[in-house]
Symmetry: C2
Subunit: 516 residues, 2 copies
Amino acid sequence: MADKAQIQEAIKTQGEVVRKLKAEKASKEQIDEEVAKLLELKVQLGGDEGRHQFTLKTAKGTRDYNPKQMAIREKVFNTIISCFKRHGAENIDTPVFELKETLTGKYGEDSKLIYDLKDQGGELLSLRYDLTVPFARYLAMNKVTNIKRYHIAKVYRRDNPAMTRGRYREFYQCDFDIAGQYDPMIPDAECLKIVHEILSELELGDFRIKVNDRRILDGMFAVCGVPDDKFRTICSTVDKLDKMSWEDVRSEMVKEKGLSEEAADQIGQYVSLQGGMDLAERLLQDAKMSQSKQACAGLTDMKQLFSYLQLFQVTDKVVFDLSLARGLDYYTGVIYEAILTQTGPVPVAAAQNGAGEKAEEGVSVGSVAGGGRYDGLVGMFDPKGRKVPCVGVSIGIERVFSIMEQKAEASAEKVRTTETQVMVASAQKNLLEERLRLTAELWNAGIKAEVMYKKNPKLLSQLQHCEDSGIPLVAILGEQELKDGVVKLRTVHSREEIDVSRAKLVEEIKRRTSDV
Amino acid sequence: MADKAQIQEAIKTQGEVVRKLKAEKASKEQIDEEVAKLLELKVQLGGDEGRHQFTLKTAKGTRDYNPKQMAIREKVFNTIISCFKRHGAENIDTPVFELKETLTGKYGEDSKLIYDLKDQGGELLSLRYDLTVPFARYLAMNKVTNIKRYHIAKVYRRDNPAMTRGRYREFYQCDFDIAGQYDPMIPDAECLKIVHEILSELELGDFRIKVNDRRILDGMFAVCGVPDDKFRTICSTVDKLDKMSWEDVRSEMVKEKGLSEEAADQIGQYVSLQGGMDLAERLLQDAKMSQSKQACAGLTDMKQLFSYLQLFQVTDKVVFDLSLARGLDYYTGVIYEAILTQTGPVPVAAAQNGAGEKAEEGVSVGSVAGGGRYDGLVGMFDPKGRKVPCVGVSIGIERVFSIMEQKAEASAEKVRTTETQVMVASAQKNLLEERLRLTAELWNAGIKAEVMYKKNPKLLSQLQHCEDSGIPLVAILGEQELKDGVVKLRTVHSREEIDVSRAKLVEEIKRRTSDV
């Protein structure tokens, strides 16, 4: 525990950081993150400095979504769900926590990132780490051997959060998986088609989908002289090639993992290769690679995959890349990962973060989707070990949200957070009851309507609320209108007003808002 | 810990229970619950009996949703969200866990039901218990003083699950709240209007919305001679009147909570009262009740509330009921609870559960919505104690799901779990590539299409899949059709087939499925 003077010093320094960010008009997210650190320090200090007894914050690595963020989220989800439904997927849901043992032994080195629940008597539970393992548990438990399903839900990882870059401890995954025994590579190709459709429709800029196969990787390790028991650990090192240079990866293999220099160099030659169907064909002829049955099986399937991708017209974005490894233990065949290749507006924090994180022209801004084939996972849950072959893809939606938010900020168009069509207002006093009566009439007719919760609101403040929240129409009541059985219908943006009879009001509002 | 013989005996008994339920064709849910108990026993026993090393189940009190349940859930959510949007609500989201201290001291006696996370270093966290406290934390943290928002998410309670009656440890809440300083009872009335709209639209049968006010309850306790420090505990006992007889409630007050018999009997006279605006007027004249300023304030507001409810045309279902108490500590004004009054199809388990739970004609099947005013909660989070008045309602959706599922089971109409419009099929062999090409064309045109992942599927099995999953159209390819540049479009239910040119296919599918 640091002593009081140290903490006070830290508070001072952190206070400076916050002030500076505010002066620089840094992003709200970034300021919030630093303010949270400041509050944590104040709480450590306790006593007078931490005035209130509790910390007013969300848990580390998590965040609230405000209405604007939710409006964007809804739009993104609608795009994704529409795509999943277009491909005939059903929807399932599983609990946020699983028995601890259900997650045990599925995630390799990442298992330490699992959140456990406190033992309060009863079962030992953990928060789900992804949606794939619960899906496999679901299939085994319900003896489902055939399903095409999507599942959109939050997952939990005690990772180091980097919230300004869209990395959280609580985040959404949007998973689409096909389970069942089918002819090779057809469902696999559909998963890639789905990634292609979603990333195109979200208009996130250019992207690439890297493809590889665990069998090709394992075959490659074998022919390069990697000992059997080092396959998995060497595989996780290769997985770092998107963040580290080859030199650093090589050094980790040799110095930390004890691989021979010769084997490492042979791997180095393969993992630099990228291509399409042609590369698969070439490697099938490769003197060394062709010695591995596993590699040949993977390469033959890769050729088949590309032939289907051609029919699906998505080969423009798909690259067979031998450096793609993916960390998770459960993959058994094809693996893939989609990255955005356009350097978008880079968040300040990332740019400040020094060399390793510096955003350069043309450098990828990170993975937005990934997945692969996992034919053994369901069998791990089945009491008799019955296998159900599966292939799936997970859309990493948080980074997509970040980009969409930045785009919304940059755009002139305001994001609406409600869908209200009309505000029921009055220019005169003592018309609350009439306003409420009309509002209820509109609600009952299915019109989205708001009314101010004041007895005598000013007309100006009622109109101002419409301006602020983008409500297109105002239905204004006055003594005269009530006598005449009409309502003054005002179009907010043009300020035009016309009298509409009460009987025709609903129809008129529907007509005017259907083409907005 | 029970000894081995005891557990073996318990396994035998539990095995009988399961066999009996299966023989009686009890609901899947009920059987699953008993099977889970059996599995737990087997695990306790360990060794050979618990054959596989892990338990294949979801955590106690939780469940998966299968595609059929999800289809129903989607429909219910759409109804609810449409209503919230019709009333101009924005949407927010908060993390599934909060700092433990955020939840501390908000739930009174129920705090013991909160799930804590294990201390893995870092902050102490708990799963959210409801959406109201996180909402108040959100308002204080973001200094929001005015918002109308909805929030639909799962909450967690370590309660005794009764899954066959729709009571779970993980369950959805659908919350709508209005925060802000407004003229009295207008937002409160809108909350009741919303409950009325949602329960009507969901067609769950007849319902009642009971209304009361914490100030009326407290005033009543005061004039009946309940000591100040016993208000909350007596209030929780009164809250049990929907499950217990007055005699039992009276006995708990007197024997367990040490209330005088005289005070209890006076309370008894009040809590039997039900009515509408007239009752509020009568109590304002009541010699005893009118002595309490608090009660008078509550009763005056109750009159006002009913006048707005008349304008909203919902008084047919709303009852001012002095026995309504509601358990949560944070309510400060109006409280309400909606119950279904129709005895629907009663789940077997409930009927078997003995006297206390026996379903009788006209007895309520339980609360489906509840809420009230909580003007002090946000102030508990604000460092300077600034208050933000709030009123809201929470729809308890799990029971609604149960009822909708039962209705779906009973109905002849099949629940579709996908929205697929057309199946791309072939009658002849070796047309996989042509099928994939056409399917991609349809996807690209926004048509929801499926294709079998087999090289040479039988036409019959392709048609069978359409029958099973309710796909209305089949696009059949054959050598002749390919030569002629047409597709045979088959209507599944009528078995009619016509040739449509490739160029017109998308248009024709859209035309035929728009009116389905």
